[in-house]
Amino acid sequence: MTLIAETELQSFVLLRLGDRRFAVAATQISELVAPSRVFRFPHRTPEVEGVILRRGRIVPVCDVAGKLVGKPLKSRRFYLIAQRNYGAQTEWVALPVSGDCELINAEMTLPTDSDAPHVSGWLSHGGDVIEVLNLAALTPGPGELLAPVAPLAQQEARP
């Protein structure tokens, strides 16, 4: 039995930050929305630039481009509204992206110990190798350590 036979195709949303593409598991994405007004107020969490109003909810905006490509986005095409888990609770976070997003089905390769905490896996798509993002390691949350790179079940299933 080959490794490929043991794995399943999963859905991912590909997003663009500057010149690079990243992926997030489609199950973690709520919607893709046009940029709207960001409301700012004093706070001390540098990773959060403000909040947007979406469907009656107040959603924090986290520009993760600084961490991933080294500089914040100059232009924003969309906000990807993603679900961020905080223990048993899930909240929305808005991730600004600079280009179109794409839904794909692909096999994910699990990360290695040497991968950064924000990498929850790797995809091969269109000739590129693309990082699958671990939102818990990229977006801030109160009183928690960096989330594990991959869920324990996946680690155990690793060949």
């Binding site: 107020f41 004093p42 969490t45 109003l53 959603v59 949350g141 109160p142």
Partner: protein, 183 residues
């Protein structure tokens, strides 16, 4: 036989709030948390200008009846650029008063959303949550969040000689003017 009256959805409970301005930023505070609003001109008399290292936001110390309280610059507390305050909010059930630039309006909110967990630093102690008003988002301040118990302890320790000097005055009036905060 009378027909059953259609059941009505309960009206959302509204909370009266004061929208106030500090260095161009709008905040909200529950009206029930504000005991009194005074002009800064009334800050004259016996209160003391203080300068506690590391607590520059605490501008004055005053006594009001049996209680002492601290007057805090909202601009400095929130890390905003300083602006001349025009009003003082005496905050109920706290030992703090707040210097603000002005009142925007009084209104009501029907929904207070908890501060998103992505906000994970000091601001969690500053705000009760956020509310959406007129297609805008306003942070609702936590009256007890302007001084932590540790900060209050430090201030009380620093001010204890002043407290001993002045003593409490049970006959003192109940207004800020009576408290006599000096500029």
């Amino acid at each position: 036989m009378r027909p059953l009256s259609p059941s009505k959805a309960p009206a959302p409970r509204a909370e009266q709030i004061i929208l106030f301005r500090v260095s161009g930023q709008i905040f909200a505070v529950s009206s029930a948390s504000v005991q009194e609003v005074r002009g800064v001109d009334s800050l004259s008399g016996a209160a003391k200008k203080i300068s506690q290292p590391g607590l520059g936001k605490v501008q004055y110390f005053a006594q009001r009846g049996d209680n002492s309280f601290y007057v805090i610059s909202a601009a400095m507390h929130f890390g905003l650029s300083p602006s001349p305050p025009a009003l003082v909010f005496m905050l109920r059930r706290t030992r703090t008063a707040l210097l603000v630039d002005g009142i925007e309006k009084m209104t009501s909110m029907t929904r207070l959303q908890a501060l998103p967990r992505a906000f994970c630093h000091e601001e969690r102690g500053w705000y009760r949550g956020l509310t959406a008003l007129d297609q805008s988002v306003v942070p609702v301040v936590k009256p007890e969040g302007f001084l932590t118990p540790d900060e209050m302890f430090l201030l009380d320790a620093a001010m204890s000689p002043a407290l001993a000097d002045t003593g409490s005055d049970p006959e003192a009036g109940d207004s800020l003017a009576d408290a006599g905060v000096a500029q």
